[in-house]
């Protein structure tokens, strides 16, 4: 299989969705760096299509993918693109199961299968809208590339220049379980931090910071990614305050491109949305209450 990316299709009507080549591509790890409790996995992918902020990739190690604990992993794992810089795609990883564990232990030069960019990313704020970024845990990843785009450090693919709002600083609120994880806040610039154990910043939930921030007014759109309970709190809060919100959801996936129908979430109208194809970024107004069922060990 070729390691070279095929040219993506031109004229995709949706700037929130850069089309992926229809095959997994073999790339190499350029670095795997510790960031507190997390790892930042950097993949050399100079020929890869530029993702829209909020899109994700399916990743699997080329070697020793399988035959781990319980003969797993078998399927690739979904990760939001955290940043694209100098021909490298960055991903934020936390070791929570056999797949993430294998990816966390990779070294520079190791091979990785990547399929992407997949899904539908964030709609950038309209001119004059002030953005508020809210993240929790390893879910802060897609907010980093969004912040890069908002501050003019990452060119939004598929947008005419007049569609891209002038570079501006967004307010960033991030929540973590403890001090080790709170080090992940270094992925973004100028974040205000909350920690569950009170070891860093505000003692409590990031949604308490959000509530205060919304009371101050002037913010007009919320972008959030994190655990289901946090997203549900953000969704309910924004609904109450009448503020639009875009939520990047996480779900167990088998394929990442709409084939398996495994990653559904409930819409308000009673239908299911596929997180991988209709999302992962969905308008909060479209969603029913976000269920919290413990994620399968990934």
């Amino acid at each position: 299989m070729s390691g070279r990316a095929q040219a993506p299709e031109r004229g995709s009507a949706d700037p929130r969705r850069t089309l992926a080549p229809p095959e997994r591509r073999r790339v190499r790890v350029s670095a795997n760096e510790a960031l507190g409790a997390y790892r930042v996995l950097k993949l050399a992918d100079p020929d890869g299509p530029a993702p829209a902020p909020g899109q994700f990739s399916m990743l699997a190690a080329v070697d020793r993918w399988g035959a781990g604990e319980d003969e797993r992993p078998h399927l690739a794992r979904a990760f939001s693109v955290a940043r694209v810089s100098a021909g490298e795609a960055h991903y934020l990883l936390e070791d929570v199961g056999p797949g993430t564990r294998r990816l966390c232990e990779l070294s520079a030069g190791d091979g990785v299968w990547t399929l992407g960019p997949l899904g539908r990313g964030f709609e950038p704020p309209a001119a004059g809208q002030r953005a508020l970024l809210v993240g929790g845990g390893v879910g802060i990843a897609p907010l980093a590339i969004l912040q890069d785009a908002l501050e003019g450090l990452y060119a939004l693919p598929g947008r005419r220049s007049e569609e891209v709002p002038a570079a501006r600083r967004a307010t960033v609120l991030l929540g973590f379980r403890d001090r080790d994880r709170a080090a992940g806040a270094g992925l973004l610039r100028g974040a205000r931090v909350a920690s569950d154990d009170g070891s860093v910043g505000h003692a409590g939930h990031v949604t308490e910071l959000l509530e205060r921030e919304l009371a101050r007014a002037g913010h007009s759109i919320v972008y959030a990614c994190g655990p289901a309970a946090m997203l549900e709190a953000v969704r309910a809060l924004c609904e109450r305050e009448g503020i639009p919100a875009q939520l990047a959801l996480e779900a167990g996936m088998a394929c990442g491109f709409g084939a398996c129908y495994g990653c559904v979430v409930s819409r308000r109208d009673g239908s299911y949305a596929r997180v991988c194809l209709d999302g992962p970024v969905l308008d909060a107004a479209e969603l029913a209450a976000i269920d919290e069922h413990a994620g399968a060990p990934a």
Binding site: M1, Q6, P8, E9, S12, R17, L19, A20, P21, P22, E23, R24, A60, G66, D70, E71, R72, P73, H74, L75, A76, W113, L115, L118, A251, G252, M253, A254, C255, F257, G258, A259, C260, Y261, G262, C263, V264, V265, G270, S271, Y272, R274, L277, D291, H293, A294, A296, P297
Partner: protein, 296 residues
């Protein structure tokens, strides 16, 4: 490596298992032109279509098992009328023949589905998903040879298109089921569907055993599910070999195929076509790669 199958001329012997590749979703993710230029299968099998729309099972729908995947998707689909009106025009643009998979809970329902599809020239062949429980007995229609023979016999006159019967492996004697499908007039059988499987929710950290008197919680929203992937490959090979030895009609073999060597084994024991399923989840181009590996 072109191949004849039930009167259809296919570019190679690799197709998809029903419900494991969504061509319309693929058009959205990869773009229609690129997907069609490098379409991974020599024929496209649709997801299962039912008379009425189905929402599918509540999540979670997936569990990664040892060497495979347990799914409990619940056959979500928009129903026959919307499939014919909305999806068929787009599926007709695919560069390969379209096989429509249908499921009903009795012969009358299946006959209605098959009859409606028979009128559409965009559909090259039909596959019957026989893993539907009989509402009276609770057993899968396809698990009981006598019932299978009767249902296929009643449905057969509804179409002149090739009729494929997808067999369930969750039965005492898959060869008897295959012979029943043949006796009812099927042009081909496809096997194996997923093996019935169960996944329990992982226990919380530090919790050694399930508390006394409590039923362990099932992980999948639909209760039990179906196992696929390399974990079932040897079972698939045994069942395909047993069936191909006894029937005179064509056989589509599937179950855990990941590469050309696996596909070759199914062809060697008598399959005419091989279907790829779970491996496509790991790589959407898997079908094309396996077809190329078969050529050498």
């Amino acid at each position: 490596m072109s191949v004849r199958f039930c009167g259809l001329s296919l570019a190679h012997p690799v197709i998809n298992g029903s419900g494991t590749f969504d061509a319309l979703a693929g058009q959205r993710a990869f773009g229609e032109r690129v997907l069609h230029e490098r379409f991974p299968f020599s024929a496209y099998v649709s997801k299962t279509i039912t008379l009425k729309p189905r929402r599918g099972n509540p999540p979670p729908r997936l569990w990664e098992a040892a060497g495979g995947l347990i799914n409990s998707i619940g056959l979500p689909n928009k129903g026959l009328a919307a499939y014919l009106e909305e999806d068929l025009p787009a599926l007709a643009r695919l560069p390969v023949p379209l096989i429509t998979n249908v499921m009903g809970s009795d012969a009358a329902q299946i006959a209605q589905l098959v009859g409606a599809c028979d009128e559409r020239p965009e559909i090259a062949a039909l596959e019957l998903n026989m893993s539907c429980p009989n509402v009276r007995t609770g057993l899968d229609i396809g698990a009981d040879p006598a019932q299978l023979l009767a249902v296929v016999g009643q449905v057969r006159p509804c179409t002149a298109k090739p009729l494929i019967v997808k067999l369930t492996p969750n039965t005492a004697d898959v060869t008897a089921c295959a012979l029943a499908a043949q006796g009812g007039g099927a042009d081909a059988v496809s096997l194996i569907n997923t093996l019935r499987a169960l996944a329990l929710s992982p226990r919380a950290r530090g919790e050694a055993t399930a508390p006394d008197g409590q039923v362990p919680r099932r992980w999948l929203g639909g209760g039990s599910g179906g196992l696929s992937g390399p974990a079932i490959r040897s079972v698939a090979l045994a069942q395909v070999a047993a069936v191909a030895e006894r029937v005179q009609i064509a056989v589509i073999g599937m179950g855990g195929v990941q590469n050309g060597a696996h596909a070759r084994e199914l062809l060697d024991v008598g399959a005419t076509l091989v279907a790829v399923g779970t491996e496509s989840f790991r790589d959407p181009a898997a079908g094309l790669r396996i077809a190329r590996e078969l050529e050498v």
